[in-house]
């Protein structure tokens, strides 16, 4: 667990927000897989700050240097290390904070766990910046999945009280293409002004807001995942709950499934041109931890950005006294739009890991 993910598509993440750099080692990329750095850069750009009015003004390059495992544009089959150097850090913004624990942040939990030795600058290893390596890994996973006929997209299901309608039972692939190209993906673009207004109002109030990202994968074959400890939901949620600020993970109807009777929640099945399909998707494409051939539908709730300029009550562990704190510097009043590509990336990693696991135990291999 700690620091490592996966048994087939393996990830080892490293770095601190204000250290020399952040990155990831990916082992298990099939030899010969094309590594398209231009395509990867597009995904990285969707997560990078400064691309949207809702985001911080910081300009991070998030240029990934591939240190190993790729030769002449193709994976060697050996571990790939992607490194992102840190640039434009203003540690000064954070120096004032040492000892003063930011509410809603990992400051106190980390201070206890690491005995005060962890890097506090910019959240250190806890920084949302550490999701950039996940997007890098996800970009490679998505390219492999695309060859398998699997496509992934997401939208901003809500920001505060403003909702975008959910995906249809069988989302249109054209919709997915449109969403994938947007830095503020919505199924109903008409809700964008209300969402942006809500973020602007929070920003003006020196406050922040959260929301929910809904993500779907189309073309996932039935039979991927395992009933215990390797369920689709188990693997996805392991990754999702490693993304800072995530407080809930739902599949299909999620918490709302408790509003239904069994006769409603059970997705009726039928043959459609010889293929088994369901008339509804309350289960989000997963039953018994295994994909059932329907679209895989997940929702991830992201809390309001904990860094706010409003005065907050907290403790100063250096003095042992209560204190008040105002967090200045550049912070997103809402990270939900930037989180969309992160959630898509971890769903891609999940489905690749599990399809590799499935391939390992098929009869008559190799």
């Amino acid at each position: 667990m700690r620091g490592n993910f996966g048994e087939h598509f393996r990830l080892s993440i490293f770095g601190e927000s204000h250290g020399p750099g952040i990155g990831i080692v990916i082992d298990g990329i099939p030899a010969g897989t094309p590594i398209d750095e231009a395509e990867i850069a597009q995904y990285m750009a969707r997560r990078a700050p400064g691309k949207d009015p809702t985001a911080t003004a910081r300009q991070e390059g998030d240029q990934v240097e591939i240190l190993s495992g790729v030769l002449e544009g193709r994976a060697c089959g050996t571990p790939v290390c992607g490194l992102i150097r840190n640039t434009g850090m203003h540690s000064g913004d954070y120096r004032q904070l040492v000892g003063r624990m930011r509410p809603g942040h990992a400051d106190y939990a980390g201070w206890v766990k690491y005995g005060g030795y962890n890097d506090p600058r910019g959240g250190g290893h806890f920084s949302g910046r550490l999701t950039a390596p996940l997007v890098f890994a996800g970009s490679i996973a998505r390219a492999i999945l695309r060859e398998m006929g699997i496509t992934i997209a997401s939208h901003i299901e809500r920001i505060g009280p403003v909702h975008d309608p959910s995906f249809a039972v069988h989302p249109d692939s054209a919709l997915l293409t449109r969403l994938a190209a947007s830095s503020f993906p919505l199924i109903d673009p008409s809700v964008e002004p209300a969402m942006r207004r809500h973020v602007e109002e929070a920003k003006a109030a020196l406050d922040s807001v959260g929301g929910c990202v809904e993500c779907v994968a189309l073309g996932v074959p039935a039979g991927i995942g395992s009933p215990f400890f390797g369920s689709v939901e188990s693997v996805f949620s392991t990754l999702a709950f490693s993304v800072p600020a995530v407080k809930a993970v739902e599949f299909g109807d999620g918490t709302a499934i408790a509003d239904l009777m069994g006769s409603q929640a059970n997705d009726a099945m039928t043959f459609d041109h010889g293929h088994v399909t369901c008339l509804t998707n309350h289960n989000g494409g997963v039953t018994g931890g295994i994909t059932n051939g329907m679209p895989v539908l997940v929702r991830v709730t992201i809390k309001p950005t904990p860094s706010i300029a409003r005065p907050q009550q907290t403790v100063d562990v250096s003095t042992g006294q209560d204190t008040r704190l105002e967090i200045h510097g550049r912070h997103d009043p809402c990270i939900v739009p930037r989180a969309a590509v992160v959630i898509e990336s971890i769903l891609a990693i999940t489905l690749l890991e599990l399809s590799m696991d499935d391939a390992a135990t098929k009869p008559n291999h190799p």
Copy 2:
């Protein structure tokens, strides 16, 4: 992943509902740990069917035979295998189902994954019965945690539309003692009649209902868990999404945290008699994937029991035709009450696994 959980308190689960037996191998129990079979039996009884009007009429002993790793009432430090023989099986109840995929069940997903070779009787390896070994493992984990000052309890937060109030920011230990002794645990016992009525109405309608279990752990020290892939939420949700019928996992306010502003969601911190604590617990005792010293609060949503007697539309993969299906036999119209001890068990396993992980990397060991 697949079939195995943990790196310190390791679990390997096995068995099918109607095979010779089900069980689990647990490796990592500290040598000398008292193994109290009477206490374990009490936890097993809370999960076993037939104990409550909401449950199936089946009478399962769920007697655990300890095959290894225990000598004269204490753990040897070697792997413990707990075996539960299957008894009172009525495979006849299920024979009619072969080929006909039960909606909401893993039948179709499993049929594809295992190429039709999996055991279909009673759900086979997908049966909710497989949660019994988790309760066995959890019972041992809870005894170890108790020595560390950690106590765990849960309540039925909702069944269908009927809610029980949530835990207070700092739940009373007397409340936890009361809940732990109940087969229908509620913070406000006055809601019990309405909940039972809802279940009875579903049963009368040959239907089923779901709900939510809310679980809390008190006395958890700050500093347990890791930011990536080994977060408290990641490890708990890996286990929770291995429990059949779970569709959502929430920490703290969960999905509702998106209704708050950052200034509300950030739990203000203060010194209380020299200890750092929070005035609220919107984050459920976990920030940055690590415990922060507040009670660890989780919610798990359980869908309505998929086995219902109502006619349902589905497919028959043996004929390639659509068909209709009525599931007879003995099934719980609501499994939420029996699930409570399962959720408590996996939270215990989570916290023990992570506290062991923490112990492994403390300086100056061993």
Copy 3:
């Protein structure tokens, strides 16, 4: 590591020599794999005691009860638990030993590790009896490998000073068939009398002898294994050094390769009917941790049975005094013949695990 092996063909072993039983959970057997209990029994019989004059007089049934994961003679794809009940135990033989640490045994190491809580009867979890579950797992692995064209056999390369000649560069498959049917496998049967005489002399002297098992796998395709941490040698030796009494693991020429010049140790390569092969096999079919298409050749050195009736000097940790010890009861003066099938089994497990790992990361899966 501890207690668990593998990422694809996963093993969880449990049990003590004189507890209720010993066994193993195997996860990752491809669904539909035929499970031939009669064939498994033949392998189990080769390891079981009392089958050969060199072995102990104990009569162990070593009957494996399959508790899960098999239906109508085929693997379900879910975890298989194999249980071997312990019978005919004479704990009395060992009771005298408590506190008195048997030299050459794990008694003292285990007493310290487990704080005195481990089961001392018959060596407990350290008993050579725990190799029976490995043979069970290996039997299933061999059946799968056979479908892949891989066959495995071994011979007693030495007992004390008496040697059997090594395998030819390309062993004859008829030889492998003959060896696989023998309880005392030798390439040159004429050495059998000298080997048995050496064992008998040791037995008469209340002493014991060790030796070496050489094992070969034919038909292994090139390309299995990984350079770091998952090399063929790494995986095999992880298992080999889990077999009690093993003190050395060699591949190809092993320690003797230091007697060669590079020009001799480098196996010259050539095309043979369009296939790449080597003229020699000093590297034992593995280069860079990966199979190269030549027979995989391993040697495992097994120390003399530590249980001997001769008086030995040791310590009594219950008194804190030095003492003398005579170990009575029934013990093999030489376990090398019984170990042969164990080594074959772990080589089979190694090759299956690694071929599954290879299948997981092939392009265009699943």
Copy 4:
């Protein structure tokens, strides 16, 4: 396995000999551990080429840039990534080789495994250069072990036919200090001329030689390691067989233990000033996979360097024809002296990993 090692002190290695760089991610370093870059550089220098007449003339800096996990000279508790940039590469030396498989190298095995996509330059990921990251990780592990009272050293036990005497049952710590400071460590310095002469003769003959490194750890407490799959020997050999050119791993007397009777191989035990010790160490400090308090003694056999200038017969997979090959460029005629620090490093990693594993399951943690 593949690419990853460890559950507590976790390693993820990456890089190719002639790519941008090589490195390793280490997770599990206790927070606050001093990271002494000067001390690390000393260990790195012992492995680096060009330091000894037996070694290649290449001048590699092997400067490690620490990209994460260290702040102001102490470990943060988060993953540490160490990067070594590749410099002074002469790919031209290798270009001629594409298609022509070097005997004794991983060329053919890797070409098959990776479908021809792996980086062939300088052996790519199979290069002995990849042991540099292991020395970096081992250097950190040794500093932690030193605080636990554990010291490690090794000597060149043999080069070809020339042997250095083995360690005494209880090696003198002054000897270890002397060995640790030498680039050509010998217990009996008088054998150095004969060893060097043997290497020089091989070099003059355009050939190469191998040998054996014997390594010992003093101060290792009893009780570290596990009987199955996590034995001291299993973990060490997993790492040892990941070091290029290793063909045999022995503990204690290793293969020679088959020359002894049980009464000789069983190390007699006695109380020495109240501590349990053995009069001999035929078992190399490990019984039942667990340390027994005696020095941990291992031997690793390293084959002759496969890169030799002599003409060799091999295959050209690009033409499908047999061919002859002369390998020019700068290669060590003997890598044994440089391998010593690598073996010390992996023994350190082994003992730290297992002592952390032991700490995880001690009662009453954390």
